[in-house]
Subunit: 233 residues, 4 copies
């Protein structure tokens, strides 16, 4: 197994089961973990469990994102790894969608990713090292009926990730986009008892994130799609 | 040649050579044409030339888009065809990008497309007929270095177009996305004299838009990429 | 409407409704049409109807393809337009597929396309003009369960078409690949009476082939997907 | 790290550095390894090194592939993992390509993959477990000028892999396609001394193959693209 040189990770958009799984997996691999979400209170227990630290941050607000990185830097040093998991969606018949909600989808799912990536890259470039992982969804590559806002946000995030991969891979920064094509199991959303692995297990997803971080730079993936074995595709 | 039943077209984002070519081509095919841009003054000459009408509208403002459709309806009846050409881009080294400009890229290139499409679909659904054409770019399908904001906006617009095609094709509304992969020739941007067709001619692009409008619904395209014969791809 | 300079067309793989529709549409646009299929007898009536000529040719046999072009050249002059529609498929549970049938799928659907394109390009290059159209299917871009052989043949044909577009567009030869995503209506396969256009009408497909031939070379499409308005995608 | 239940692997098309790296990596992960190539003599040293066994097999010949699996079964038991790396290419100006070489490209790069997969699946289905890994190339997803035969073969192999993933994932068989987008370093092909990791290291690629084998089935990837950090894409 290749040695991994990353020491500190920031996970943005904590709350879902995936972020908790990433926090545990990254911690298990020897990294210090910072957790960020709009309400830091939600993160307290997880931060304590993994020995990390929680930060309150609205990722769509430039000043808050700048402050987040300054605070993390003061606490841990600049993060080697940043995972952007935040997203927001509204859905329903297209003609009934609330434009304000559509704008929020774009802001949380895509613009927040830009703000976080920009602060991250500023600190990774001088060291010519680092990794930025974006969490995508089925909607990143396929626009579904009655779900244009999520497609808009997730397509945009993928465009961001691809541009960053082209711009910064040659600078030593690994940019990857993981397309989660299926439902993630969680406390409130479990698969049928007779098909326990028919939904994506957050720990299984986190394993692939870690695999990506361990790829030697002579053979980097910029995008990986994950789906349950039984998922139609 | 199949008979085309569309009678009225709205072109949003006029200014570039493409919108003028669309206005002339659509007029030549027997449609009444409405032109919309932030500054209607810029459109006066073109509107006069094609016997159409110019409207001032900032496509990122919900109230202005709603008023635009009310005004067109009063003047021409609701548009059968809507072409969304507006876009905005900022580029340069990623770490130097101004977040306000990035937000504007998303708003003009994608959110404006949502607002315009929503008003258009509201009026097309009851008639079970109409066409919405979105103008894409190379950046719609490929995120380039130093150009993340344009990729974000154009990827998002493509996600919107695909969602709408899935939701509304079965309702009789033809939604199409045209990827313009190369530079469009214009007064200020001409190809070398010895290679007169090495840049996209706006009239040639407009011809394909009209071809799309004439496709019988048993064989619709939802996406077409266009590039000059000499363009590397 | 742009003037089209093509005068002679060869359609390979005649038999399906599409080839007959292409023959009629191309003839209607002023082209002389040559028809080729394994059994020329099947083509006699169509050739007579359109004032063209039928040729017997097994497109998977190099000598037969070479002779086909020599014969057409003697009769009409070299074809300006070549449409390759031949394909062969076998399907069923993967473990039960007959390897000989799988090989035939590759040979008819892809290798024949290579042989025909090679003879066509040899004659188009000196004139720096011509068009080669390949007919694809849903299976060109999506490998379905129980249908690996068709996917293998159609994916391969698409790879051929894309390579040729890259190699020969800058030489003035328009190479295009049309993905037919859905069932084509024919004498033996008709849509429900209440949904007359829920299957692809061959004439509607042929209209798009002609649109492609009329595209000015400053704005060429290399691939277009067509599907019925009601088709799920 | 998830426990991996695979015990035996077959690598077809040994010769390149990648197959040797796979042999060492799979052996290191506790698997018994069978190696197959047209000339088994070439594999003797590698087989000895990894404690595996070499088999002579022309993968384009049905009878030889059937015998290969019978022989492996007798020696090791049926393989849990099969990696298909064989390919053949011819390139040059399209009009100068030798059709016999083009046919060989299709046969080795794609048809051999079919034959090997069919024998593999026959043995995996009853156990509802196994993995089939196909090695792709840049040409799997992009048809380059002067390289149509390789694109045809590699596109076809990808179509096969995708069909198999759709058909057999729900049966518990993990089918994956790895796109190697760049040059692989080997004894005869090394990167510049000042850029030691500017070509794909076979061991780095093999690490990702092993990562794929270790993915829990609730989160499987069916395709991963790998390229060196400095590779243009």
């Amino acid at each position: 197994m290749a040695e991994m040189s990353y020491r500190t990770a920031l996970i943005v958009g904590v709350g879902a089961g995936l972020s908790a799984a990433l926090a545990r997996t990254f911690t298990g691999a020897g990294m210090k973990v910072a957790l960020a979400a709009r309400r830091a209170a939600n993160l307290a227990a997880l931060a304590k469990e993994v020995g990390g630290k929680a930060f309150a941050c609205d990722a769509t607000k430039r000043a808050e994102v700048e402050k987040l990185f300054v605070d993390i830097e003061a606490h841990f040093g600049a993060p080697d790894v940043v995972a952007y998991n935040a997203s927001y969606r509204t859905r329903g018949p297209f003609v009934e969608l609330d434009p304000a909600e559509v704008e929020k989808s774009l802001m949380v799912s895509a613009f927040g990713g830009f703000l976080v990536a920009q602060e991250a890259v500023k600190r990774m470039l001088p060291r010519a090292q680092g990794a930025i992982l974006f969490t995508g969804a089925s909607a990143s590559v396929k626009g579904y009926a009655q779900s244009a806002p999520f497609a808009m946000g997730k397509f945009a995030l993928r465009g961001l990730a691809q541009s960053l991969a082209r711009e910064f891979s040659p600078q030593g920064i690994h940019v990857a986009h993981v397309v989660i094509d299926g439902g993630i199991r969680s406390a409130g959303r479990t698969p049928p008892a007779d098909k326990p692995d028919s939904m994506l297990d957050p720990d299984a997803i986190a394993q692939t994130y870690l695999d990506i971080l361990r790829q030697p730079r002579s053979a980097w993936a910029w995008e990986i799609e994950l789906r349950p074995w039984v998922e139609r595709f």
